[in-house]
Amino acid sequence: MEMLESMLLAHPFLAGMDPGFGHLLFGCARNLRFAPGTFLFREGESADEFYLLREGRVALQLHIPGRSPLVIATLGDGDLVGASWLVAPYRWSYDALATAPTRAFGLNAACLREKSEVDHHLGYEMMRRLVPVMVKRMQAARHQLIDVYGRPPT
């Protein structure tokens, strides 16, 4: 167990975290494996867990009626998967599909939200790490939106 806890704390998303907070997080964590082709979660499901990828590859995709699913981003080693657990009503807004053998830590969202309510320092520490990831992804989504390699308007 101690080894798993130190492995959790060694995840890039948690780099440099106070071991006390790490211990609290470990109480909400479990070790997971996903075979290629299995979903970490599906759109509309309850966002009751988020993931810190140790290795592998996960495709975030939207399904569009009558068309192939659209992959909007891929995530890999060291990445965090999922933010909908932060915001009510805690439902996933896309699918997350493992496209390679994937190992991850799953963190129980309700457990973490509860601990953050009790210890706001933990909540701040998590938000301090989450916000840059979210901002970068929002900026990347904007870049994708402007279709930078598309044909210039005539």
């Binding site: 659209l70 992959v71 909007i72 900026q139 870049h143 930078v148 390699y149």
Partner: protein, 279 residues
């Protein structure tokens, strides 16, 4: 006093199309050979003015190997009247050509460093001569990393060459696309995100960046955040070039004429100008 120019700088010369390769739906690579004079040498990063007779003239970067003195290679995307006419050129047809013009990538300065190439879309074309040079003289350079972003898997440029370069032990290649269907098993996301994932030594790295200006701005920001100095980032600018010799002013970009002082410019010199929409 303005120095005298060679008398024929503004006069297109006839070049024969010897090969046409369709790279994607609207991108073509033309191989050209001179019908009048010896093939002039060129520096990776330079461009020629290509003239579709009766239609017009546009600047197009050289995309072939500078060591190949038998002709020129240009990769063209059909986006306007002239580039569409050029991309529809048939083998044995004749085009007008002036050049080469402009400044190339600073390969001498890059000697002894790791090289990070960041290419977006057709931006890989002006960087391909650099890659040929780096691979042919790899003993003078450190590790070579090539990051290429594309709109979709179908629009990845020079796909077979990217695969070949990836097999070399001294080269890392990472490709990303903005959107894909599930048959694509590679990376999906924007090029700056690849910069964050790439393994390189920022203080010892020189970066060459080419692609749409928005992509270059954000790639440069990612490189700076990774620790690459602004003076070690070089970008290839695109503006409305007409004379190609710094006289007409159409391509003026602040204190520089892109045709004469660029198209390759050090990022630290132009970073502030890139943020000015009027330029």
């Amino acid at each position: 006093m303005i120095p005298a120019l060679p008398p024929d700088t503004m006069m297109p010369e006839p070049w024969r199309v010897r090969s046409v390769v369709r790279e994607s739906a609207d991108v073509y690579t033309l191989g050209l050979e001179s019908l009048s004079s010896p093939v002039p040498p060129f520096l990776p990063g330079q461009f020629n003015m290509l003239y579709a007779f009766g239609v017009g003239e546009v600047p197009i970067s050289l995309s072939g190997d500078a060591a190949d003195v038998s002709g020129f290679v240009h990769t063209i995307r059909a986006v306007g009247a002239v580039s569409t006419a050029l991309s529809q050129a048939q083998p044995d047809s004749v085009l007008g050509l002036r050049g080469p013009f402009g400044c190339g990538w600073p390969l001498t300065e890059a000697s002894g460093h790791d090289i990070l190439i960041v290419a977006g879309g057709l931006g890989l074309a002006p960087l391909r001569p650099v890659i040929y040079h780096l691979l042919a003289h790899s003993e003078h350079f450190g590790r070579i990393t090539i990051l290429h972003g594309s709109r979709s898997p179908a629009e990845i440029l020079f796909r077979s060459e990217l695969a070949m370069w990836q097999t070399r032990p001294d080269v890392s290649v990472a490709i990303t696309v903005d959107h894909a269907d599930p048959t694509w098993h590679g990376h999906v996301g924007v090029v700056p995100a690849l910069v964050e994932r790439a393994v390189f030594d920022p203080p010892g790295t020189i970066a060459f960046v080419c692609g749409p200006e928005v992509m270059m701005r954000f790639s440069a920001a990612a490189l700076l955040a990774a620790g690459v100095g602004a003076n070690r980032i070089h970008v290839s600018m695109e503006r409305n070039m007409k004379c190609a010799i710094g006289l007409c002013g159409h391509c003026q970009f602040g204190a520089d004429f892109v045709c004469r002082d660029g198209p390759v410019l050090p990022y630290d010199r132009i970073a502030k100008r890139l943020a000015v929409p009027e330029l």
